[in-house]
Subunit: 454 residues, 2 copies
């Protein structure tokens, strides 16, 4: 469904809820894809949301809805479900979804649910919950097809028809030796093509890309997207397969990673939630503004130190915004390019000197161009100037210095942070603009003092 269609869906739901047309509503709930219904839920008023949710009965459907909702809506709805039903819902959910939702609940409640769930299922879920949040282990599903290497194609198909009927994504058939170690992989596609009596070991692919349960999830996403896989197996340190990460989870990781990068670069932190209250939002954003506060205070003391120059040449003050603005913006450009280059793998640490010197060169060129522009404006705006050329030259040189240093710092910061294993996206935001501000203003007044002979 497109966004317009979801708007129509939301409108119909509101109308039917007002009329109390339960039969119609139940019909819509059964027929609509849960991905669409979950979006409609967000658009409904809190009252309508609750009414609609109470009409839902099928535990599998509710589980799917839970896994698609925003965190706070999920927590709201959970309150309306009685405990016994909650257990059934979590029992029927894929183990990876159950694990990530249970971590959101109050610890006492989640323990109670786990203790009442079917043993095999709760073991799986607890295992998944034990992995760190950003790891392959926390993402993987424990439903997969793994068969021994002597099983023949015909038997694999039989296994798919019986034992593995519930597996979410059975596109790959993983092949294990008699000790349970992963030795190869085949696919549904090969299965329908080979002779029915051929054993897996004769048509499986032997070079496998695997990850460990503790592999970082962004690394998993990189591997899946680099090789165009539909899933990647997760093996423990004994090379036994413990789960698979599927491409749909990788898409979610990529979505989140992009959002995180953008928010970090804007200095908002990485887990900003739009649905928080105003006060909570202000709290989350406050610390990130501290860098620019410190920078502002530093600039203030720098300018204070040049008070005498300012008393003689008040016009100097008028150029402060253009100098720090041009520097700040080119610095943001350079850092965004570098952060994204590191993120997509186009820029490596070995290229440090090359990347930084190229950015410096770009900064010099653009600094010359805009320095000239601003200098010309300075020249024609102060006719009564006692030093006809000194001020425009000082301003032009300050723009050149500010822009080239900003490009240099903008490229350097993310690379230095990456070197010390700090996320370059965090580094590049307020850090760059703040340091550029300080450096630009200092250079500007030094140049002006020198040229104007103060």
């Amino acid at each position: 469904m497109r966004n317009e269609q979801i708007k129509i869906l939301t409108a119909s739901l509101t109308r039917l809820l007002r009329r109390g047309a339960t039969k119609h509503l139940l019909n819509i709930i059964t027929k609509t894809h849960m991905a669409d219904l979950s979006i409609a839920f967000k658009e409904l008023s809190p009252d309508n949301r609750e009414k609609l949710f109470k009409l839902m009965d099928d535990p599998e459907q509710i589980g799917l809805l839970f896994s698609l909702l925003d965190e706070n809506l999920f927590l709201e709805f959970v309150k309306h479900v009685e405990f016994k039903k909650l257990v059934t819902i979590f029992d029927k959910m894929p183990s990876d979804d159950a694990a990530s939702l249970l971590t959101l609940l109050d610890e006492k409640l989640s323990d109670q649910i786990l203790s009442k769930m079917q043993e095999e299922e709760s073991d799986n879920v607890e295992q998944l919950m034990s992995y760190g949040e950003d790891t392959a282990g926390s993402l993987m599903v424990t439903d997969f097809v793994a068969l021994e290497e002597d099983v023949v194609a015909k038997q694999v198909i039989e296994a798919l028809q019986n034992k593995y009927l519930d597996v979410e994504m059975p596109f790959y058939i993983y092949v294990v030796d008699k000790y349970g170690k992963l030795v190869g992989v085949s696919s549904l596609r090969q299965l329908v093509v080979v002779h029915p009596e051929k054993p897996l070991k004769e048509f499986m692919a032997k070079d496998l890309v695997c990850v460990k349960p503790y592999t970082d999830r962004e690394e998993v996403a990189r591997l899946v997207s680099r090789y165009d896989y539909l899933a990647v197996p997760v093996v423990d340190d004994d090379n036994k397969i413990v789960g698979i990460v599927t491409v749909d989870d990788v898409i979610d990781i990529l979505h989140e990673a992009a959002t995180e990068d953008i928010l970090k670069m804007a200095g908002v932190g990485e887990e900003y939630i739009e649905t928080q209250t105003v006060v909570k939002r202000a709290q989350m954003r406050l610390p990130w503004l501290f860098a620019s506060f410190l920078g502002g205070v530093a600039s203030f003391f720098i300018i204070g130190g040049f008070e005498e120059s300012l008393i003689k040449f008040t016009s100097l003050a008028a150029f402060i915004p253009v100098i720090s603005g041009m520097g700040g913006n080119i610095g943001t450009q350079s850092s965004a390019i570098t952060v994204r280059g590191i993120g997509t793998g186009r820029i490596n640490l070995q290229d440090f000197a090359k990347v930084v010197s190229k950015e410096l060169a770009v900064g010099l060129i653009l600094g010359l161009v805009y320095g000239l522009f601003v200098g010309i404006i300075a020249k024609f705006s102060f006719e009564t100037n006692s030093f006809p050329m000194a001020l425009p030259i000082a301003v032009g040189l300050a723009i050149l210095t500010s822009m080239s240093l900003a490009a240099l710092l903008g490229a350097m910061f993310p690379l230095v942070f990456e070197r010390f294993n700090i996320d370059p996206a965090v580094a590049s935001g307020p850090f760059v603009t703040t340091s550029v501000d300080i450096v630009s203003i200092y250079c500007y007044f030094m140049i002006a003092n020198f040229l104007l002979g103060i």
Copy 2:
């Protein structure tokens, strides 16, 4: 392969190329996944690159490499391939890759290649080239499995073993009626589960999500990721299936979309290529800095207009950076949150008033906090001030005004741009910081003039 392994691969390649160990090199070329080799190619020196490329012989391998390389490396390598071989390479390539690579070539060369290619293949490619760059049509592959509704499971499997042996992603079996219109879809998975004599129409799913050849590619990506599909069919206006877009292409779109958003928000334009020359890079970035240049010039005239106030109270100048810096940074936060919220669908245009007023509230809270901080610093830094409280109050109020207006503008700009169908990411970058700068400085001097009674 992980990044470290690729470094090792690059080092071995360099060593073997220096020793001229052709046999070893050929061995590596055959055994390495082309996705890894394409990264190693980027790391090699231009000379080594050329040497290694000349060792490659298999047209299918070369085609795959071409589709994975950066644009400029592809254009470099094409020069080393003789025309007849180039035709073979493009003949063997998936039609979507061929279409996008041919558009990069000189038009004369690409026409020559197309005219010598096999007719069916070149027709496909020309059809794909006719769709707009950002559409589903330009992404889709024309290799897919489509069978009539009366075909039984057993026959489908036979077709997969013969007619469709070359199809890239045969996970879905599309079902058409006798007029060739798309009526349903089944999957490989269902195929191995159902009775061999069952016809497709009895086990296909009938509610299908399709796109048109002219659907925007980001819309396609949204659909695939919303419903966790592995592919989505592309149908023409007669509902005839003309191609499919697969999940691996969707991952590429998401990668590109995230990069584009980040670059646009930093004011770099959307197609910045790190491997360009310095002069070209400077040219690409020059226009994006023009907004901040204009803003700087405007600030300059505003401050110039308050020259008399500055002559009386030189210290006013020292607070310009902190006021514009704090405003600029909170404005960047608000616009990043809004742009990303629009991008991920969490924020809709209907929420305009709610989003903007919440951001304004956040701006007011943070403005109060930081206004107080900066005011206190102002109070204790100017002991000789003749108006002991007026200046600190003016500065504090200016911070409050600047930060709340910045949060308001930062949230409003992307939403207004979205309303007029302009990409909100473009809007939010230099636009916000520049307008915040102008507004902040103007308000600051107005407040100071009033309170200091100038």
